[in-house]
Symmetry: C2
Subunit: 720 residues, 2 copies
Amino acid sequence: MPGLFWIVPIAGVLTMLFVLWLARDVLKRDSGTPKMREIGDMIFQGAWAFMKRQYSTIAMFAVVVAVVIGVLVGVLGHNQPGYSGFDIAWRTSVAFLVGALCSGFAGFAGMYIAVKSNVRCASASQRSLREAVTVALRGGGVAGFLITAMSLIGVTAIFFAFGGYDKPDIAPNLIVGFGFGASFVALFAQLGGGIYTKAADVGADLVGKVESGIPEDDPRNPAVIADLVGDNVGDCAGRGADLFESTAAENIGAMILGIAVYVVTKNVVWILFPLVVRGFGMIASMVGLISVKANEKENPMNALNRGYYVALVLSVVGLFVSVHYMLNKDLGGKEYWLFGAGLVGIAASIIVVYITRYYTEFRYRPVKEIAEASKTGPATNIIAGLSVGFETTFATAMIIGVSLMLAYWFGTQSGIAGAGAFGTAVATMGMLMTCPYILTMDAFGPITDNANGINEMAGAGPEIRKVTDRLDAVGNTTKALTKGYALVSAGLAAFLLFQAYLDRVSIIKFGTPGEYTVVDIARVEVFVGALLAAMVVYLFSGMAIKAVGKTAGKIIEEVRRQFRADPEILNPKDPKNPHKPDYAKAVDITARAALREMVAPGLLPVLAPVIVGLVFKWMNYDAPMVVAGFLMVGTIGGIMMASFMNNGGGAWDNAKKMIEDGQLKDEKGNVLGKKTPAHAAAVVGDTIGDPLKDTAGPSLHVLIKLLATVTLVLVPLFIK
Amino acid sequence: MPGLFWIVPIAGVLTMLFVLWLARDVLKRDSGTPKMREIGDMIFQGAWAFMKRQYSTIAMFAVVVAVVIGVLVGVLGHNQPGYSGFDIAWRTSVAFLVGALCSGFAGFAGMYIAVKSNVRCASASQRSLREAVTVALRGGGVAGFLITAMSLIGVTAIFFAFGGYDKPDIAPNLIVGFGFGASFVALFAQLGGGIYTKAADVGADLVGKVESGIPEDDPRNPAVIADLVGDNVGDCAGRGADLFESTAAENIGAMILGIAVYVVTKNVVWILFPLVVRGFGMIASMVGLISVKANEKENPMNALNRGYYVALVLSVVGLFVSVHYMLNKDLGGKEYWLFGAGLVGIAASIIVVYITRYYTEFRYRPVKEIAEASKTGPATNIIAGLSVGFETTFATAMIIGVSLMLAYWFGTQSGIAGAGAFGTAVATMGMLMTCPYILTMDAFGPITDNANGINEMAGAGPEIRKVTDRLDAVGNTTKALTKGYALVSAGLAAFLLFQAYLDRVSIIKFGTPGEYTVVDIARVEVFVGALLAAMVVYLFSGMAIKAVGKTAGKIIEEVRRQFRADPEILNPKDPKNPHKPDYAKAVDITARAALREMVAPGLLPVLAPVIVGLVFKWMNYDAPMVVAGFLMVGTIGGIMMASFMNNGGGAWDNAKKMIEDGQLKDEKGNVLGKKTPAHAAAVVGDTIGDPLKDTAGPSLHVLIKLLATVTLVLVPLFIK
């Protein structure tokens, strides 16, 4: 095999075995008391039912889209050297379906284990913090590693199926459909899950905490199971699909950029390089995960961080080995510049952690400001939160901007063809090497959140609650970090995907990459395309948060209906044997509404670039350039909006937690804690932040990449 | 004089006479009871003191900036045909100061009359609605017409002072400083005024209505005068400076585009054309204003609309005459395509009215949705408002996008050099022809708002209150319309300013326009510049709304202090002779805080493009292109954000009004009016919307144009 390519199958097989071992380890553990198992089963059934229904809907859409792509590319497309338009069309459609299928499978399997882990984590929390951390981490690891492995194996397999070594300069162009399939599923998974989770959360809180005055996660609340289900389908399955997509799109885009070098050097390692780096990253992450040993005394976050640093150091080694052994032949010493570009990506992944923590932890100024503003009511709390959220775009833009400039410059120094863009690709590879570990930490969040909820509902003692409370707080931090990571990596990946797009236009128009490079935003049509893209970001965000509001309305109605129909749910005559609410009904109604509401915002970013491209083509403009402008400014707009929403939402959330924690004081030094007007104001802020940070924001990461993959796939349509 | 140029001095002189007549007419009217005069005087003194202090600060900054520009352009700049770098430098500085001075004078004078009009409007409301409308409209007209006249006269005078007919191809490049001076003043005027008005509003409400339970505009509230002052300095002076800037920048930009045609045809009318069109527009607006006759029975808005349509029809005629007599010689029949382009702009100014009304009046879906969402509390109200605000970007982007494409296409058909861009310039001219009328309607808002407040404080009877209440409601609508108009015209003007920027780069680099045309956003440095620009929009917005929060905090402290120091302010022992609060102290504290807080957000958009340009120049990139990318994507981002803020804020405001109006009902058909939880929720939404729609949003219009003028002026710095 050329270069170090043998690492790819080895990493793939190893990871799959690792996933099986993790799953077996988690499943064989004690699943707690019958009461806990009962609650766990309800969550499992709710999540499973939602996922089944959600993915049936997505599958239906996906088949339609696959056919439409096939027909459009077949009829309107162009022949390419070695392939007829028809060949390209069916291969794109098949790749799309395979990508969609892999994403779906990874989501389902990861979710299955995550939902099975929560009750085991709750049970483990009765024995020790250390065991609870182990269970949550291993359960999360199944999702994290399976997702990354499926992406690597899927891209590699389809690369070989569509030509592989025989046509290494053409195959990557045929597998772009895989990335589109993955992002298509990811968008609906994230949107549907995000709408579900926040509608359930907002609905359960408004009608439970606010209207009926019962605590969070109280078993009398009919929406409580829906709320717990939501954590899994939104945070876990949604983010998994998001990063599955990131890794796939990054691999494919980087392979397309590799073609430009391959055309000159005829050395296939340039196309295989991204796969090898990913392989090393998976092994590094595996070792990192195994190394985590939580300590009863310390903050569990420290243990997770140690594991992360192990994964990072090994990634640096793996990157160096890949660069040294694969690229030396063609670059003769200059390959270390590309190693530098990779280090830029790895550094970015560390910096983003610190910045996210600054903006969302209550030790620092931003969250403190929001908590202070809560003293004068919800309006000032929200004004403060908006201004913090807006402010965070500075850090996001600087990380992405500086990383891109540096990586591009490092790339240029290496002297290969299209070297600057390849430098940004290597930076993205570097950043995404630790993706399995990051995803594991992300899935840690909903598992511990659920474990905490199960303990509450099962009436566990305060000592045990303390353990899962601590884990839950860690989970909130890891969820925020993953969002920052996903956003910055999406920003870096975007630039390489633009270049891949331009290369693809060039190949179709001129038969060779690198001939079509200019996107002139001073042309009126490109400027208008860019304006429309910026608008789509706002429109999409508006639709997503409106969907949460509408779905929450349905849940509120249902809970009110149950309380009216049977008042003994809330106030049982016999407290030992209360009437049970109909949890399943609430779950079902939430699911139906969430799935209905995800359709319109989901279709918008798929259709908008296609419509823009076709309309401007029909008007005889240079449509591929208009679409490129749309793509680039849409990406910029999406990054900014997501940064505002993710970090602002996180800051609102933690301002509320800070007040609940008793850390806010009035002028006289009295603690302003729960049940004060300041707390009520902070709850309003948190409720507004919820759909921003868990529905619209994360969906925007996917939107950014979906814009890139949909345009990459449909390029042939836009060219006259 | 060439072409119809004689219309410019005639329109200028006529307008000045008209302004004098309006001012005399208003000032000679009855100024009401001693009580009303006393209140009016307090507002006048507060506004005057604030303006004086604000403009002293601005003047200081302006002098510094003028010197810095002179030195920078002199040292780092380039010689141009006919002028040394030094010549250009001092002329730019002088033009900057003249622009700043004109803007300041127009603001002061308009403001003076507006503040004198409010008490006369209150007095007139005791006699008839018709007279009250007349007073408010004529008072507003002083501001509206003076501002536009100053802009036209200023640009024309400085054009002749710097060469005029002798060097028509160079003079416009020397007067770009005028536009920068105008936008520099406008930014600080809008920011300072916007922070003042909303901080006073939020502060007075929170501590008055919410904490102490006294009604709005109650004389016991120490912040009530500050609130009334705010309406004048924010809405009236701020928006006036904004549109002064728009008209100046549009004229200068269009003259620079005209150079490209002049170079070919040697016909100076191409450079004078924008001034002539503006002249016709002023006359059309004058006739429109004179034609307004309010009817006691009907909605006063209809009377204003009739006047607007008169102005529009006359503008169409004026535009046709200008095109027909001035451009026929060179285009021989094809000039009517440019008339078409102008019609596009006029059509845009009509459509924007309907769209703004759809999103902000409570007859329509968007505001109804927000009011409905208030039933479940402030959180759902705000989520609904955000989603409506986000949605409005669609309409804004479509109007601007379609207008640009159409105007560009019409321009191209005329066949002149740089014709497409010139088409968009003519569209902007068309749109801005009715600017004096629109500005008059805008100033109508704060005058009637103040008249209403004076009536409340002077204890006028319910019949009289009804008259000013009706006018106040109309004023809210006209304020919203002006914002939509200002935003869309800024969007159209932006594109012509980009082209002027590129032409200026071309002239400096190559000695002739039209050689430097490409802004390639696919280059990493341009992409990063664009990303930074999008970020600056968020950062600026965050700083602006945070400034409101901070300033409001100061006012709240002061009001609380006064209530504590003398409880008899709130609950007088002798109700006939209550203790008076210290209004002046509250006004003074607000002014100090607002002026301090305007500095940082004001400097950001001035410095950001300069820093970006110089850093990228230092790094050896094509800095003028990076700055162009910054400018274009910053414009796009600013338009979208402003659309969200202006319309979302307006919708929140009117959702509250809808509830106060008794138009919201619960399931059982009971009215949910004032003092219900739904109303409280809507008040929170309105309070959040306030700094968005009256501070950050309008400041963003100015920011968009300031980015254009600052880069236009500092182009020489960015070129190696």
